[in-house]
């Protein structure tokens, strides 16, 4: 149930995001979803990609600091309040959400959201109990 996400350390410098994306393009890696978290001087680019090991190798050989982290991918019904309902489950369980971002593509009429809770195992358990649809990693990489 753990989806692997690729995180890259980026300096806020002209062209660095482009450099990272070019490295992935060259290795023919598809980006499924991405988000950037930043401060004034540096940030973290987070991505769900088609092939994690190859993406990591391509980025590392281009000189980037890369980390694989685990996240949860959930299917959210595409209607008002869909995501709010799910976050409420986590909130009620006292679980903090570190970050959240969405896929560009839909999956069987559902929106796909990537989220990271402070305790991944507990997050998965809580969501499963609340009957939230969690997506298999394999499915996620090939969306």
């Amino acid at each position: 149930m753990h989806v692997k996400q690729v995180s890259i350390f980026l300096e806020n410098k002209k062209g660095r995001l482009l450099d990272a994306l070019k490295a992935l393009a060259k290795a023919k890696i598809n980006i499924r979803a991405l988000s950037v978290a930043d401060t004034a001087d540096y940030g973290i680019l987070r991505m769900i990609v088609s092939d994690v090991p190859r993406a990591k190798a391509a980025l590392e050989s281009a000189g980037f600091t890369v980390k694989e982290t685990e996240v949860i991918a959930i299917a959210v019904s595409d209607q008002p309040g869909g995501l709010a309902k799910i976050l409420e489950v986590l909130n009620n369980a006292g679980l903090n959400v570190e970050y959240v971002y969405a896929f560009a593509e839909k999956h069987e009429n559902d929106a796909i959201v990537v989220l990271r809770t402070e305790n991944i195992e507990l997050g998965i358990k809580t969501l499963t109990n609340a009957k939230v649809k969690i997506l298999e990693p394999k499915k996620v990489y090939s969306i």
């Binding site: 300096e11 660095r16 930043d38 401060t39 540096y42 973290i44 000189g63 600091t65 570190e98």
Partner: protein, 431 residues
Amino acid sequence: MFWQKNIETLPREQLEKLQLLRLKATVKRVYAKVPYYKKLFRAKKTAPKEIKTLEDITKLPFTTRDDLQKNYPDGLLSVTKDKLVRLHTSSGTTGKPKAVFFTEKDIATAANNMARCLTMTGVTKSDVLQNMMSYGLFTGGLMMHYGAEKIGALVIPAAIGNTDRQLLLMQDFGTTSIHLTPSYALYLAAIFEKKGRAFRKKLKLKRAYMGAEPYTEETKNKIESILKLKVYNSYGLTEMNGPGVAFECGFQAGMHLWEDSYLMEIVDPKTDRPLPDGQTGELILTTLTREGMPIIRYRTRDLTAIIPEKCKCGRTHRRIMRIKGRADDMFILRGVNIYPQQIERVLMSVAHVEKNYQIYLEDNDKMTVKVEITKKLFDGNLEHLKKLQFDLTEKLRAEIMVRPSVELVEPGTLPVSEGKAKRVFDNRKIY
């Protein structure tokens, strides 16, 4: 003007005779009384009887900063502790300091040398010296104080900071001479500019002694033109009693080094071979009169050259050029000696940063530490990076007393220099 005309103008031949006599006594003394020196001498297969001429000094071992730290707190004493009256340590960081001890006579000698320095720049007993250096473990404050008192000048022990009070003291007590760091002098210059000409007219300032930090000719000129006084270059280091080791005379063409107290050599810092007068190399100093803690062939790591020509002032003690740089990577920021190793220790203790860092120094005492974010430091969490940045800043401030700006950078963005990694990029205009 001379403080001790006889000694200051002693013919070279006699001066060298005196040096040899004192060198022999010093060497004998450390060999007999300081086990660490005996060990160093033996490792170099040498002994006091080998010293027959001044040139024989090259047979003796060097003393390094490491040796002083290894012998901290009191391993290099050549007298019993009851003979000591004072200790000082090298300028302040929390790492292992270098401690230097003085007997009553050692203090008197240092004060006397300081009195010579001040006298040759024109200070007399009718002068008022405002000493704006920190008093305490740092030698700068106290040694200048003693030298000026010895002459009979009125000393105002103002110490550092509180600018309003400094200005009030200058005005009310007719200060003629000030002793301060170049960075504080620049700060004062800015205040003087704001206060205008009328304020300066109320003051009797004639001269400034700047020490503890390197500074450029441009800084000196700027301070001279704004404060309307003469700035005299000086050279000193804690290991050698602090200020007053070498000083400019009225002709201001190099600094006379008191050769009856110190034996100086210039060596190539890479090969350790002696260099002839006029060539730039590392200044090596041996104390010739010190009782409490004599030091043989101390590697100052300061780069300079001996000026062999006789000075117009008549003094026979040779001059050295203004310091041209360092043979190691130590740098001085706001009067504090800082070694990259100290920075490295902090980086290691906080984050195992190891070798992936560089230090940039810019004008106005700005220091930036760039830390490469390698795999080990990166877990994909932004909050952790922010915390790392904060912790590094705070720990560095505690270690070096200066708050640096810490930047997190991508690996491989720091310039790599050929061979040995370059840690410090000093872009200040100081030497």
